[in-house]
Symmetry: C2
Subunit: 204 residues, 2 copies
């Protein structure tokens, strides 16, 4: 990544997104992307494994998650770590880029091969967060649950943000998601399914 | 699926799992599976789209989830619906089959192509549960969160159950997961991040 290729990665991402939107994902080739970006195919493959990866900025989200988890103060509990990490990701990576993120989402929704990669990226992100929480002392099951929760909130909040008519920042949708999760799980006082649910369940 | 092929689907599933374990997933072909099961390739493709699908019993889990959601009494709230649905799936589909389920999981973990399909199956299952909850009157964001939560608990509980040295049924691990989710999210009284988290976050 020498000085003769300033922001090669960003140029490739923008060129790819433009071409995918203009002519469709399957019709777009890597040489077309590199031509639009004014770069070589060799440069493309130095940054991305394939045509799909360019929509995910390589492993940028996973790398960022790993860094946020390493930087989190040791005293913070697992849910607080992911809540704060998500707020930073929202502010630093998503806010102000809603149109571009929406284009990307619409492309992924329309292509089976991208949906499959998307699902895999989610699993990969859980696979980054979970061991990092375990390394902080969270036990295995709780680390798995909280890592999954982080990825759920990221995706549900992203969708709500992209579909919203207003201009609230993504972080506000994340806060809503955690609040609503607390609300729906709040039923019982003792942490079990609670008498109302058990009574209803008897008829189920 | 005529009478001349009793339990064709089950025979194909068992033959495939045996062969995958014996000689690896990539080395196993559909003709080998059908030969082992004493059935034709045509029968295989009547039940499964490809070699990977045979590990997922086609769309059985999604179909079962759809049925459970349709059968749930209208008064039950969204979390109760998925908690009870998961308990039934645990009892009817998983308990008593731990060795077989563990073999399947180990295969999936070892093969990138299976991990990708697994991630896609999870997304598909969310895609079944979410609209079914919306059809019951749950709003879109809550339906998305609860559907995701159901799939998280299914997978985290399955892993805990498969790794456990004891013989507790899968449903007990699911109950544990919901209890722990309530525990980790329980921090604040007012549904917001709470003063302790906010104070810690200031240093983050």
């Amino acid at each position: 990544m020498g000085r003769w290729e300033p922001d090669a990665r960003g140029r490739l991402e923008r060129a790819a997104l433009e071409l995918f939107v203009e002519q469709g994902f399957s019709a777009t080739t890597v040489p077309q992307i590199t031509a639009r970006a004014g770069l070589t195919t060799r440069t493309f493959f130095r940054h991305f494994a394939d045509k799909r990866e360019v929509l995910y900025a390589g492993d940028e989200v996973a790398a960022r998650a790993r860094r946020l988890l390493e930087e989190a103060p040791p005293g913070l509990d697992a849910v607080a770590v992911v809540e704060q990490g998500l707020q930073r990701v929202a502010a630093e990576r998503f806010d102000g880029r809603r149109d571009e993120v929406r284009q990307r989402r619409d492309l992924v929704r329309a292509e089976a091969t991208l949906r499959e990669r998307d699902a895999q990226k989610r699993a990969d992100l859980v696979g980054v967060i979970r061991p990092a929480l375990e390394a902080r002392g969270t036990d295995a099951v709780e680390a798995a649950l909280v890592a999954e929760l982080a990825v759920v909130v990221l995706h549900v909040a992203l969708d709500a943000w992209l579909d919203a008519p207003d201009e609230r920042p993504l972080g506000a949708y994340m806060t809503d998601c955690f609040r609503r999760l607390r609300g729906v799980l709040d039923d019982p006082a003792d942490g079990s399914a609670g008498p109302r649910v058990q009574e209803q369940a008897a008829r189920f």
